[in-house]
């Protein structure tokens, strides 16, 4: 069933490979950039711990994480032995074919889903700051709230003083070019504007970590580029840790510092790769560089196997 995904990856020499994936689920090793030790800890505990003890500027540490869903057709492994270290301030991208469990991984980090085994450690946020805020795929703005109320949602829930809410929400709506639409309802906005409100809602909440689940996938190409520009611009102000899911290699290379490519079902790490481009980035200028095209080409070469494997599985299931 998952023969293709077990195939050893053969990463091209031009690819600056960050992780070293050996094809065996237990032997995924991470280059020890931060002096981390992996051995000597129990890995069976199912816990999402918030700990200040994470050393070396690591924000998120995922160890041997697996997620098995109980379905009518028996257990379904969505995520299989994921190991990850995400340093603070990293714009981390996850790329994978549809159905590889990338959204599940994000939902586990967001606290919306429980994992089956392994550990997730997230560095404790500063006092009074929320751990994470998610930008959801598709329309997630409350239709019954105005643009302002939507963007202020997280802060209102936390019961912050009005003046602080006003400053923060006003700032991010302004940055998102929505200052004239405070009192509009989502159904009065275009899809691109709605997704900008979603971004403003997450940024205004000032979380430690931003989780983004294919936030631009429903947008047309022009809007997508503009929103990527805006996201990068807003992100540059604070440089928060970001975990961003996409199925677009272009988007991953454009936005990310580091890309994890996942296998088709069950979702595993196929390889990781660093994006060498400097910041701040301009989307179109970046895309004009030959190095950009090369990197995208390389990743695509690796991903193609997985997409084909995913397709074969779908056909095998008679979809």
């Amino acid at each position: 069933m998952c023969g293709a995904s077990r195939k050893k990856s053969n990463i091209g020499a031009r690819c600056p490979v960050w992780g070293d994936w050996r094809g065996d689920r237990a032997s995924f090793k991470v280059k020890d950039e931060h002096g981390l030790q992996y051995a000597g800890r129990a890995m069976t505990a199912v816990a999402t711990a918030s700990s200040a003890a994470l050393s070396g500027g690591i924000k998120i540490r995922i160890k041997n994480l697996s997620k098995v869903f109980d379905t009518r057709n028996g257990p379904f492994t969505a995520l299989d032995t994921i190991n990850l270290d995400i340093p603070a301030g990293c714009f981390f991208m996850i790329v994978g074919p549809s159905g590889c469990g990338k959204t599940t991984l994000l939902r586990i980090l967001a606290g919306l889903e429980e994992h089956t085994s392994g550990t997730v450690e997230i560095a404790a946020p500063a006092m009074g700051r929320p751990g994470n805020s998610m930008v959801f795929q598709g329309d997630s703005l409350f239709p019954w709230m105005t643009v302002w109320e939507n963007a202020a949602y997280g802060l209102t829930i936390r019961g912050l003083p009005k003046s602080q809410i006003k400053d923060s929400v006003g700032h991010y709506l302004n940055r998102a070019g929505l200052s004239k639409f405070h009192d509009s309802y989502p159904h009065q906005l275009s899809g691109g504007m709605r997704q900008r409100v979603s971004l403003a809602r997450a940024f205004a909440n000032d979380p430690d970590i931003l989780l983004m689940d294919e936030p631009f996938s429903a947008l047309d190409e022009q809007n997508k580029v503009l929103l990527q520009e805006e996201l990068l611009r807003i992100w540059e102000e604070t440089r928060k840790t970001v975990m961003f899911i996409t199925h677009s290699v272009d988007e991953a290379v454009t936005l990310g510092d580091r890309i994890m490519v996942m296998t088709a079902h069950p979702g595993r790490t196929k390889f990781m790769i660093d994006v060498p481009f400097e910041r701040p980035r301009r989307v179109l200028e970046l895309r004009a560089q030959p190095a950009y095209g090369e990197l995208v080409y390389n990743i695509w070469g690796q991903l193609r196997d997985e997409v084909q494997a995913a397709r074969a599985q779908d056909e095998g299931r008679g979809k």
Partner: protein, 278 residues
């Protein structure tokens, strides 16, 4: 961005077409509005003529002119006001006593699966019982006073509001609950910011149905053991064979029903502005 593009492209067509279209739609809507007024008036006119020329039995169908004459007298001597006021008060308390628990329970059932599993079969079993059939039981428990009428209305209002608020919460896209959870909303905050506002459109539908049913039930309840109210007025008119008064009662109930619908539509526009224009 795309908006700007769209507005510049069809500029030629814009100047030519919309005025004609607006004019056409306006005349159509005003024609429809005119028909709304004309058709009931025409019915009353035909009725009047039939009664005058003896096509229908005036003992059962007195001419409208005579009914409105009686109505006018009842308005002048304050009798109609007294009965309407009595019914409205019972209706108000009944809607309140039935509606608020229904709303709270309905939304809670939508939010909590376990509660839904426990309460739903009870609702499914009691809902189809005709509310008029439990009037004797209610009279037995609450006596002949005001409370039995209020309870009668409350039982009628309860079910449509409960069922609709539950459906309203279940209709809400799961993603909104995820957003609430991700942004750290507590159970009550989820209720206040997601479940309640999200289910308001269907709750309003439930309220409209409930108020309609309340009007039906108040008339029935007042026919037994009441000394005031529109139901009493109609029943009393039967006992003294004053058919016109009976019609006055029926027309008043109809007008009240219409007024309630108009008022509730207006309230709906105010509290569910995000559904406007959809």
């Amino acid at each position: 961005m795309t908006d700007a593009v769209q507005t510049t492209v069809p500029s030629e067509i814009r100047t030519a077409r919309p005025p004609a279209r607006i004019a056409a739609s306006m005349s159509r809507s005003s024609a429809e509005r005119l028909m709304n007024i004309i058709s009931p008036l025409a019915l009353i006119g035909v009725w009047e003529l039939c009664a005058r020329f003896g096509f229908i039995d005036v003992r059962f169908f007195p001419p409208p002119s005579k009914i409105f004459g009686v109505m006018w007298t009842m308005i002048q001597n304050g009798l109609l006001e007294k009965h309407v006021w009595a019914s409205l008060q019972r209706l108000f308390w009944g809607i309140l006593w039935g509606g608020i628990p229904a709303l709270a329970l309905g939304v809670a059932m939508g939010m909590f699966r376990t509660l839904r599993m426990i309460v739903e079969p009870i609702i499914a079993a009691t809902y189809p019982i005709p509310k008029s059939a439990i009037l004797p039981l209610i009279l037995l428990i609450f006596g002949l006073g005001e409370s039995s009428k209020v309870v009668m209305v409350a039982t009628g209002v309860f079910f449509p509001i409960l069922i609709n608020s539950m459906a309203g919460v279940l209709e809400i896209n799961k993603i909104y609950f995820d957003v609430g959870r991700n942004f750290g909303a507590s159970g009550f905050q989820v209720f206040r910011t997601v479940a309640f506002p999200g289910s308001l459109p269907l709750i309003m539908t439930g309220v409209k149905l409930g108020v309609g049913l309340g009007l039906v039930l108040i008339a029935i309840a007042e026919m037994v053991g009441a000394k005031s109210g529109l139901g009493y007025m109609i029943w009393n008119a039967w006992e003294i064979l004053s058919v016109e008064t009976m019609y006055v009662g029926l027309i008043t109930i109809a007008v009240l029903g219409l007024l309630f619908t108009l008022i509730l539509n207006e309230i709906e526009r105010l509290i569910v502005p995000w559904k406007a224009g959809r």
